[in-house]
Symmetry: C2
């Protein structure tokens, strides 16, 4: 059986090494990783092919198979992304909060890597490279545990990464994958608090909950969003429709996609028929509360829509599909109450032309990102200018919303007295 | 039995209310708290007296009884501290990382309260007020669980706080104490992740470990320090001795007190006799490795010292007492290796006049605070200019080292498109 303690010790030792590297050394290793992924493409594709065969034989769904598959084109894109990470600024070593205190102490904070990051993910082999690259750039060692259905792909990718690390003089144990399919290892990994500083789960709600309940290591939770748009009576309808359409239909299977539309009752008779037609034309099933249902069902053409009465579970549900729940509310306060009761604190938006309504909404909504006249889909590290994204956090400690390289770091206090120069 | 879910719901509701308060409203409540503590002093002292009687009857140690006892003077000091918290800056509402992105989005981060903080502490009734004041100032609701031996004191103090909250129009459920002695409630509180955003344990290593192992809520761990001072061969001995003395003897029972002295072998024959004499005069027991023992034992007067051979457990132990382990090392590298192997990442120091040795030490030591020519005792929110301290974190997520008001907050992203002004 895999010796997790040994893996942990190796990672910790590698982490000390990585923390002292210059930016150039890390960037060289990242570019070498991209090279090695290209050189070993055939081996990686063969390993992925073996994973796919086994998954097909086990009756895996087409959707899951599509997530698992690697192609030369996908591998090229992954290698190119690794080179992009090399171009990002290195957060490590940043000095901030510099102060000379009344007691004569000189104090500053210095940004340092976290140490060892543990990542548990599902059937996406590309996560292996994504996360390894971001951890390396931020000076962290990483222990990866991909889904057992992609274990051969993960092993091959990790081997290519190891080649690159070795070539550039870095410890090959900076990036380790646990490919033993024994599921007990996940639970044991979550208890390895002597060696791992942070756990990032990348997957569905079940995986997040499993990590929260079993980990003695801090877990970054996220990835689950019940996202709302509230349309205020002053909203510009022509501009509201494309935002709603973008939020719901651009990529319905992701966490920042829209789940519930709240409309002020003064605007509902104007907005809902147009919105309903546009959404229905895009194949969206509408689950409406009584007032919304009455307005929608009398719209010409509504007979052909997927329009049903909303049940209580339709509010507060992340649909991950072309389904939208709709409720008519009597004002801003009711909208805020609804969202704070049903949101998972991911992404919520107001559409309005009234500055005071926008301010009140932003103040009251307790979510990782609050949007004004903007689609919830913009809660994304790339869109917010982070350059890269490790995860979207919906918890409140450490980091909230999109996490980039800086969120893979911590700091230490450095404190000096004033007599260093006077021997 | 205490209904924890109800307490959690009340705290969450109070938290929404607190998040919207102005600084003035919070400061008024804090000053009212100080008033109420003075007005209800007699009731609080009576409750404390009852706790003390019960503890004495149960054979509680004098040291613990001293922690538990409240006196008019101590209560006055607690009330005065509450007024000081009112004078600190309010971190909530700060806007930072403002950016206009190439995609046209205007993004900023806005500092917000965490929400609901859960604090589990031992037999120190003053923590009830300290933490309540800091949570209130930072806009957080708090659920307090003091040790069962101070439950009557906690109940009386919480009641006085409730009076103040009511008088100033704040929800009295902003500060709640669980005074039911049933110990299962602690475990249940640690699983109340629907309502509590952060757990702060205030107590010994056992309490911290219990929280880490049983909590589904993020836990701020800390309070445990195995602190080192390494004396480099270039150190100024005259200046080194008072720093070592301060670190070891000023308050030996706290987490930032010195546990292990590492001395370079070139300096050891000069430093150790003087240091040994000074430490012994202050009643410190010295547990020395063979080389240090040889040097110390031949010092004139050493016969009268508490000087013993160090066992393997004497390195990596937090003594919390007038005991110091001493090791002679052959250089900076060995000192760093020793510290990173034995430290708990709390506070470690180098004494040197060599800038490059200081830089190498600061770079390599992975602790919450790294000191140059400064006593480890300075790892403290007050000394570092935070104004107040909730805890000293030795974990790496969210906050490291002393945590003040800002560390009781999180942020939300606020993202706007540019058409708000154009209806």
């Amino acid at each position: 059986m895999t010796d997790l303690n040994r893996i942990g010790q190796h990672a910790r030792t590698a982490a000390y090494h990585l923390a002292a590297l210059s930016r150039q050394q890390k960037d060289d290793a990242l570019n070498a990783m991209a090279d090695a992924l290209s050189e070993q493409q055939e081996t990686i594709l063969q390993a992925n092919h073996a994973d796919m065969e086994a998954a097909r034989a086990a009756g895996t769904s087409d959707a899951l198979l599509d997530r698992m598959v690697l192609t030369p084109k996908r591998l090229d894109a992954i290698a190119a992304d690794t080179r992009k990470v090399a171009q990002l600024d290195d957060p490590v070593g940043e000095i901030f909060d510099v102060a000379e205190l009344p007691n004569g102490l000189r104090v500053h904070k210095r940004r340092t890597p976290l140490g060892v990051v543990g990542v548990i993910y599902e059937a996406r082999p590309n996560v292996t490279v994504d996360i390894a690259a971001l951890c390396l750039k931020s000076g962290n060692a990483v222990i990866l545990r991909g889904g057992s259905d992609i274990r051969q792909s993960c092993a091959a990718i990790t081997s290519a990464i190891g080649t690159a690390l070795g070539r550039t003089g870095l410890p090959t144990t900076a990036v380790q994958s646990i490919t033993d399919p024994n599921r007990d290892l996940v639970r044991a990994m979550l208890q390895l608090d002597t060696y791992i500083d942070m756990i990032i789960p990348r997957g569905g709600a079940g995986l997040h909950r499993f990590c929260i309940e079993n980990s003695t290591i801090p877990v970054i939770t996220g990835g689950i969003g019940v996202c709302h748009i509230y349309v205020d009576p002053t909203a510009n309808i022509e501009r509201a429709i494309p935002i709603i359409m973008n939020a719901k239909t651009q990529r319905p299977s992701v966490c920042n996609a829209l789940d519930t539309l709240l409309v002020h009752h003064d605007l509902a008779p104007l907005l809902l028929p147009t919105a309903g037609a546009a959404l229905s034309a895009a194949g969206v099933e509408l689950r409406a509360d009584p007032e919304a249902l009455a307005l929608l069902s009398k719209t010409p053409g509504a007979d052909a829509w997927k329009l049903v009465s909303a049940g209580p579970d339709d509010f507060g549900t992340e649909f991950m599909a072309l389904v939208l729940s709709i409720r008519v509310v009597d004002g801003l306060e009711q909208a805020i109450e609804h969202i704070n009761a049903h949101s998972q604190g991911h992404s919520d938006a107001i559409l309005t032309t009234d500055r005071s309504a926008a301010d009140a909404f932003v103040q009251a909504i307790d979510s990782s990102a609050v949007f004004v006249n903007t689609s919830t889909r913009f809660n994304d590290g790339g869109q917010f200018g982070l350059g890269a994204e490790v995860a979207i956090s919906t918890q409140k400690l450490h980091a909230r919303g999109p996490m980039g390289l800086k969120e893979l770091t911590t700091y230490k206090w450095v404190c000096e007295s004033d007599w260093l120069a006077r021997p």
